[in-house]
């Protein structure tokens, strides 16, 4: 089950669905002793598992693996702070807010902001708006 997907390249809906299924198949078979990286088509997927949730980023093969791996963790820490001990349900019920968090931290497929303090301050400010 995919809770949220964000696309930075053009795909039609069928292609998106196919990609989601492929990513799922590639990532979920791997065990904890494996690397957090897996080749995927002409790209690579960098992923990290938190309880039952996988966070995956698909990047160019030349991109820096560890930087994106920590990019995921940084994002997860922001979610955790924002939702006060985030759990999967928070992401389900507040899916539209999660998109906002993503856009604050990643835009156009690139890292936009890495400071947790700055992101949370901005999210808090938006939260206060009507």
């Amino acid at each position: 089950m995919t809770r949220l997907a964000k696309w930075y390249m053009q795909f039609d809906d069928d292609e998106k669905q196919k990609l989601i299924e492929e990513v799922h198949a590639v990532v979920t078979v791997r065990d904890a002793k494996h690397t957090n990286f897996v080749e995927f088509r002409n790209f690579k997927i960098i992923y990290r598992r938190y309880a039952g949730l996988y966070f995956c980023i698909c990047v160019d093969v030349t991109d820096n693996n560890l930087a994106y791996l920590e990019g995921i963790h940084n994002f997860v820490e922001v979610l955790n702070e924002y939702f006060h001990n985030v759990c999967e349900l928070d992401l389900v019920f507040n899916f539209y807010k999660v998109y906002t968090v993503v856009d604050e931290m990643f835009l156009a497929g690139e890292i936009r902001e890495t400071s947790q303090t700055k992101v949370l301050k901005q999210l808090l400010m938006l939260q206060s708006l009507e």
């Binding site: 949220l4 930075y8 053009q10 039609d12 669905q17 791997r30 002793k33 494996h34 690397t35 957090n36 990286f37 897996v38 080749e39 002409n42 820096n64 693996n65 560890l66 930087a67 791996l69 920590e70 990019g71 963790h73 940084n74 702070e81 924002y82 939702f83 006060h84 349900l89 928070d90 389900v92 019920f93 507040n94 899916f95 539209y96 807010k97 998109y99 906002t100 856009d103 835009l107 156009a108 497929g109 690139e110 890292i111 936009r112 902001e113 890495t114 400071s115 947790q116 303090t117 700055k118 949370l120 901005q122 999210l123 808090l124 400010m125 938006l126 939260q127 708006l129 009507e130």
Partner: protein, 959 residues
Amino acid sequence: MPAVSKGDGMRGLAVFISDIRNCKSKEAEIKRINKELANIRSKFKGDKALDGYSKKKYVCKLLFIFLLGHDIDFGHMEAVNLLSSNKYTEKQIGYLFISVLVNSNSELIRLINNAIKNDLSSRNPTFMCLALHCIANVGSREMAEAFASEIPRILVAGDTMDSVKQSAALCLLRLYKTSPDLVLMGEWTSRVVHLLNDQHMGVVTAAISLITCLSQKNPDEFKTCVSLAVSRLSRIVSSASTDLQDYTYYFVPAPWLSCKLLRLLQCYPPPEDGAVKGRLVECLETILNKAQEPPKSKKVQHSNAKNAILFEAISLIIHYDSEPNLLVRACNQLGQFLQHRETNLRYLALESMCTLASSEFSHEAVKTHIETVINALKTERDVSVRQRAADLLYAMCDRSNAKQIVAEMLSYLETADYSIREEMVLKVAILAEKYAVDYSWYVDTILNLIRIAGDYVSEEVWYRVIQIVINRDDVQGYAAKTVFEALQAPACHENMVKVGGYILGEFGNLIAGDPRSSPLVQFNLLHSKFHLCSVPTRALLLSAYIKFINLFPETKATIQEVLRCDSQIRNSDVELQQRAVEYLKLSSIASTDVLATVLEEMPPFPERESSILAKLKKKKGPGAVSVTELEDSKREGGELNGGGDRGPDTSAMSASNAVSRHSVTSNLSYVFQSTPSPSADLLGIRSSAPAGTAPASAGNLLVDVFSEAGPAAPSAAVNDDGFLRFVCKNNGVLFENQLLQIGIKSEYRQNLGRMYLFYGNKTSVQFASFTTSVSCPGELQSHILSLNVQTKQVEPLVEGGAQIQQVLNIECLTDFSDAPLLNIKFRYGGALQNLTLKLPVTINKFFQPTEMSSHDFFQRWKQLSQPQQEAQKIFKANHSMDTEVLKAKLLGLGTALLDNVDPNPENYVCAGVIQTKGQQVGCLLRLEPNAQAQMYRLTLRCSKDSVSRRLCELLAEQF
């Protein structure tokens, strides 16, 4: 700290989501969704105007339903309305709906653009960011047209808020990536570079992605970024772990920004300015030093962030490839990681070391880790790590360690994962060839390869071993002996049979002295495998048998018996049947001299790049095989000693000898002999089977296809490039471009002809509306009749990679000079392709050869003495004047080549009768070469003057 409670703000939404989650079945969920859709539809259609809150709530519900995987076909207008709300939460939902649902081509884009324009000029940073994020997420061309000039202004304006600058930079990046032509460089570009100096680290982080992308495309315009990046990096690297506060991540200062700065520097060569370079080297040293310091935290986040920078720094060091000291230090650092307990680090170290191995400064340092890497290949649990280990072994291989590495890779192959076997096989084959000092080792290695992983040994690999054995006579006897032994195994791989058949057929004589491998033993051994093999292998074996008859006359009776048996001579496979029949006939009627000529040993292959290497490159995609590998193979080219390849997917060894046609039909096309083989026609065996060379074009096909197919180019001009090549031959490739290959195969008898046209789609895309028509211009209409063209119309669709066939029946009513035209139309990716070709139907095709004595010839020659009956031309030789070539051409013409007729043995005389429906035209031909002057004199005398003229025209172009 902020907190969010479940679904606050929109209670109805939370209830709906709960309902969906409580559904016990898919049906229940669909029912609930349909109910909700009906409800929302009625609200949107209702008379009562909805307030912003309700609109937001319903649009959000629709979005949720869409994300569950259901189609949404309404609500777009309501979402667009939300954009003009002045409440953030409403606007946000509107933008979100659009970003997720709106297809970039949608009509709605124009309406949206209006709202975006308002928000961009609102001076409200929150609204500006929403609008910029929407553009960055949708990234359509319409948006680029509308905003590509506005966004740079926002980005560099002095009064723009930091958060807006961040969004604007990345928004511009997206537009540049989707529509680079619309983002014009200008005065803003230099100011963008200076964002590297911005106080706000977030702005630098966002801007540097834009700058990196722009620098890659316009390096000169942005080169000032180098010194700015170095000084920024230097400030970060030398800062204490707490200096950067918000941007310190687990005690590592600004890890992401550091990585991006190091990445930006990889767009450029090392800085020329000594001071800048010194500062940069200092940074790189500091990063390497920090890797040795005790960690400030035990958390993996700390080490990951630190190592992210380290790996990026190593990439830069490798990119510069000019600092031996740094390269060796990098290598040592990676060596430590090879044994790290974290799988990620072992993986990345192997990957990074692979590039280090290609630097001359660090190649030796990398080699010291060979044992660790071999161990990784054997023990790593994650196949992707083992794969990297194999890559690294391949990269660090040189003459000193080749035997060890190849042996390790071979032993690994026995248990290797299926997913990487093929690549491993290619690598072993390449290394074995590249570093073979002693070719018996090479042969052993390849035969082992076939034994261990036969299924993964591609054609290229076994072609190659044969090419090499053929080209090196010092290994031929050993190869024959080894393959003979390998074939003793009761179950051996079909590829082994192929190699065995070929090598024994060529060099079986070298081991025939030993009674244990006498000719009959060899033959029986090969033939014992015959019935288990596929058709192409059987075809190859049949060719080996005929070669045996030549090598060992004592096997002739046994082999003829095999050829004669029903399962061969009446085989349902045309190729096998034809070979059996032809070989049987050949062995019965040809003299030993002729046999020896036809079946002589294959000539050496021309030296070229290994086809295996080409295959590996193709497999891994461009750039994946390091450049040094190519250089290596050039550097060591002298020792390659191998043969060449004649295109990656043709039967490389079948080209030069018409009889040993080990045909392997290529995947794409029906391939033909491109030059008529002198011996083929002598023996009356027209090459009617797929054989020979096909142009290799896979490499840049994709690019070329697009450049060709860009604007539709209906080419109405008649293409007659191929026409003249077919005067003296009947089969071959008539036409070929990036999309289409047209092959023809034709046969003529008396005044009738049949032509098979093969249309091969070379692309992976379907051709639509494929139609062909044949027309006979002018008076030709009444001279040639083309029947059946309409009844045998081709299929309108030609799938990618497919080939279709069309048959054309031709009847020659009277003599003619023009050629029929073939028009082909089809759609490729929407563009109409239109092509007209001259079909190579020429008057000489209807020749019947006439044998006659010298006396008869000159008597008739004198009878045809009226001036208009003779046509003569003196011309310069355009092609080889080699006797065999000339003979082959004259035979291809269709006439009889008469020996001992002309008093001058250098001259050629031919005789034939052209058969038309109404009459027969007798023709005599004399060709007098003058080798010294490189000239010819061609004389034709025919009973009909128009035929003399036409034949003279046609033939003058052939020599």
